[in-house]
């Protein structure tokens, strides 16, 4: 048995595993020090950790909704839609004007939740439109092209959308008005502050994910989506209109990205044309982490990534005496991704050894 193992394992595998083991050791030492070794374990109170976890969950909720778009499109078309980060950006960047108009007209104080729903609906509508236009203009003509071509088209579409929106709305920054009804927090256990915006974000994200999961698993059109993602030709032979299903998939991804945009804007109220790039990248990472093509995988991966990104610098890097760990926040998230992919390349909930269909 040792001989067959030695035959299968190459030098590259050993090198990659040693990187993974190094990262793993670093994470374990950091974690251990943060809780058990003085003076590190006295630095942060439990309320700080709890606060960071809640913030991570809120961030994870946003990533989960964006990751839905990536994972659904990959499931159906076996293609990474790199322009999805701009689908995410277009929603809140357009809705900011409606939000500011509503605030100036005074409706924000009188009917805060109605205003929020209006802003969310506009954001979802715009994102859905951009997603459908993308599919129609950039991807449908290339359905039969070799795999690299739609990938490059996606990157080109991404840049096109960023600079179009920058030209349309301006290159400065635009801010969402604050909602007085969502200011403040609830105090738990007399000490811990649970901020209202974070609760709204997490609740909204979970509800949207449940709706999306229901659509994909329990409705007829969801069944058609799963059929098309399994075998396009057989589904067409069964009488399913493949083009309509693909448009519906993109629309669904766009709607969830638009919703994610509003939730992101509730936490980080400054929007501009470039805001989609980093969250889109992180959401794609989350989708890969959870197993690309799997809807619960996207959700799980996003939550894990959000929490790790929030806790990472303080939990792993700070106890290792790395200076300015906050600047490495993105780095630690991607490092953990590398770590998990080294030992489980198909992601947490991905199928092992899947034959990818061409």
């Amino acid at each position: 048995m040792l001989r067959t193992w030695r035959q299968r394992v190459t030098l590259t595998d050993l090198f990659v595993w040693s990187i993974g083991i190094f990262i793993g050791i670093m994470l374990i030492v950091g974690f251990y020090r943060a809780f058990f070794v003085p003076p590190y374990n006295a630095k942060y109170s439990y309320y700080t950790w709890a606060d960071l976890i809640v913030k991570g969950l809120a961030l994870g909720g946003v990533y989960a909704l964006i990751a839905m778009g990536y994972t659904l499109v990959y499931g159906i078309l076996r293609m990474i839609n790199f322009a999805h980060s701009e689908v995410f950006m277009s929603g809140p960047f357009t809705a900011v004007f409606l939000a500011n108009w509503l605030a100036k007209a005074g409706y924000y104080e009188k009917y805060p939740f109605l205003c929020l729903i209006l802003v969310a609906l506009l954001s979802m509508a715009v994102s859905m439109t951009i997603a459908i236009l993308l599919e129609r203009i950039a991807y449908r003509p290339l359905r039969t092209a070799p795999r690299l071509v739609p990938l490059i088209t996606a990157i080109g579409a991404s840049f096109f959308l960023i600079y179009t929106f920058r030209g349309l709305y301006g290159s400065g920054m635009f801010a969402y008005p604050s909602i007085p009804a969502l200011d403040g927090s609830w105090t738990l256990f007399g000490v811990f502050e649970l901020y209202k915006t974070q609760v709204v974000v997490i609740a909204f994200a979970v509800i949207m994910m449940m709706i999306l999961f229901y659509i994909v698993q329990k409705t007829k059109i969801g069944k058609a989506m799963r059929a098309v993602s399994e075998d396009k030709e057989a589904a067409a032979l069964m009488g399913i209109d493949v083009d309509r299903i693909i448009v519906f998939t993109f629309a669904l991804g766009g709607i969830s990205a638009g919703a994610a945009g509003v939730l992101y804007a509730l936490q980080f109220p400054i929007v501009n044309a470039f805001m989609g790039f980093v969250p889109g990248l992180k959401a794609f990472t989350a989708a890969v982490l959870g197993g690309i093509g799997s809807v619960p995988g996207a959700f799980l991966g996003a939550m894990i990534l959000g929490v790790l990104e929030s806790l990472g610098p303080n939990l792993f890097l700070d106890p290792l005496n790395i200076p300015n760990p906050a600047q490495l926040k993105d780095g630690i998230a991607f490092l953990i991704l590398v770590f998990i992919l080294i030992f489980r390349p198909s992601g947490i909930l991905g199928e092992r050894g899947t034959q990818t269909k061409v």
Binding site: K43, Y44, S45, Y47, T48, D51, L52, K55, L59, S171, G172, M173, A175, P177, S178, D183, S185, F192, E193, Y195, F268, P269, I270, N272, F274, M275, V278, E309, S310, G312, P313, N314, D318, N324, P325, A326, Q327, K329, D330
Partner: protein, 406 residues
């Protein structure tokens, strides 16, 4: 046949060479300048360029400066020594990469005599080697990093001057205000890795420690970071009374928004610097802006008030940042220098020797500008700085001056 054709062509080519060599007669003035001279024929414009942040999240900084220059050009009648002024430039983006791209484009244009720029010190650090080599004079209205005019420092290039204050003054004033007026004894700083923010927080920390306070943390964030929770958690562990954040947008507004929501920092005071003096900060930070203080240059006087009137009339709104007067003075300094060293020929041609222009600018003394009486040191500091501390209130721009009280 082809041999004859070849002979005719070669004779024509030789003739054209001879005719080209006997071109217009050389000018009577021979350029003995160390760097070179710019020749401006009658009817050609004098080209002054700008290298400012006119797009992106910090655009108010550069647009405000550019507006100041446009007023200066209008006041000069649009001409220098009888030649029209050609004024254009590049957006420098307030980062090293974009600053270098802009400086490369500017340096490639040999008709440029002087540049009013840059806006952000990080742009100057990478842009100055190129613009200095191109022979320009560069007068900055808003660079404040100490390195750029420090004798012997690698970042100090010949041809660079500034009408803005040096951060040695700003950091000291901020520390003095925090310690003496606010009574702060424990402070933390956040910088964004740029030469301006890092230098300024170092000066603040030095001065604050000298006065007797303690610095609990000196952290850094990425300029485009949105989620500040980990750096704020890190700072909260030291329980400071004040956080000094001499950074730009959007990082500044994000910290202002998120600090009150971090456990341990609910009542901490926040203070920024001139990078956060902009109406965009008020809209971005919403209600959390209340009580946010900034240090910034303080410009007063009847001439300045008249200038603000002109600005409001011409551009339809009050100044959107704080360096418009410095830009006005920077342009006028360059104009005065050109008027001093330019050689006017009989036919109206203007010859401007570059090194002589630089020397004239460095020798500026008792120059009456909007920002005060300017005099330049050999390394390029021309300002007569007065720093004020301002406080923001909800929905109100500009912030009110609170120290020194007038």
């Amino acid at each position: 046949m082809s041999k004859r054709l070849f002979a005719i062509v070669s004779v024509l080519v030789l003739a054209s060479f001879i005719l080209a060599a006997c071109g217009p007669s050389t000018p009577a003035y021979t350029c003995t300048d160390k760097i070179g001279c710019v020749t401006i024929k009658p009817g050609e414009p004098v080209h002054i360029a700008y290298g400012l942040v006119v797009a992106g999240p910090n655009e108010t900084l550069g647009i405000d400066s550019r507006n100041g220059i446009e007023i200066a050009i209008a006041d000069a009648g649009g001409k220098i020594l009888g030649h029209d002024i050609k004024f254009d430039g590049q957006d420098t983006g307030c980062s090293a990469e974009t600053g270098q791209a802009a400086a490369t484009k500017l340096a490639a244009d040999p008709t440029i005599i002087g540049v009013v720029g840059t806006s952000c010190s990080s742009e100057a650090r990478v842009g100055m080697p190129l613009m200095s080599k191109a022979g320009f004079v560069v007068v900055s209205p808003s660079n404040t990093a100490v390195d750029l005019t420090e004798a012997g420092n690698a970042n100090n290039y010949p041809g660079y001057l500034r009408t803005a204050h040096n951060d040695k003054v700003q950091g000291a004033k901020a520390a003095e205000y925090a310690y003496n007026v606010l009574g702060i004894r424990k402070a933390a700083t956040i910088n964004d890795g740029s030469i301006y923010a890092d230098g300024l927080q170092k000066v603040f920390a030095e001065n604050f420690k000298k006065l007797g306070g303690t610095i609990t943390a000196q952290s850094a964030v990425d300029p485009n970071q949105t989620d500040m929770s980990s750096v704020l958690a890190d700072i909260a562990a030291g329980s400071p009374e004040l956080i000094y954040l001499p950074i730009f947008q959007p990082a500044g507004p994000f910290i202002i928004l998120q600090a009150p929501k971090t456990p341990g920092l609910e009542t901490v005071k926040l203070m920024g610097a001139d990078g956060l003096f902009s109406p965009d900060v008020v809209t971005a930070a919403g209600d959390s802006i209340e009580g946010f203080k900034v240090s910034s240059p303080l410009v007063t006087g009847a001439a300045y008030d008249a200038f603000v009137q002109k600005y409001t009339t011409k551009f339809g709104k009050a100044p959107i940042s704080i360096f418009h007067a410095h830009a006005y003075d920077a342009f006028n300094m360059i104009k005065a220098g050109i008027e001093k060293v330019a050689v006017q020929q009989a036919d109206g041609t203007l010859i401007i020797p570059r090194q002589a222009l630089r020397d004239a600018l460095y020798a500026t003394k008792d120059f009456q500008g909007l920002t005060g009486v300017l005099g330049c040191t050999p390394t390029g500091d021309c300002a007569n700085p007065v720093i004020g501390i301002y406080e923001y209130h909800k929905g109100q721009y500009p912030p009110t001056l609170i120290f020194p009280t007038q």
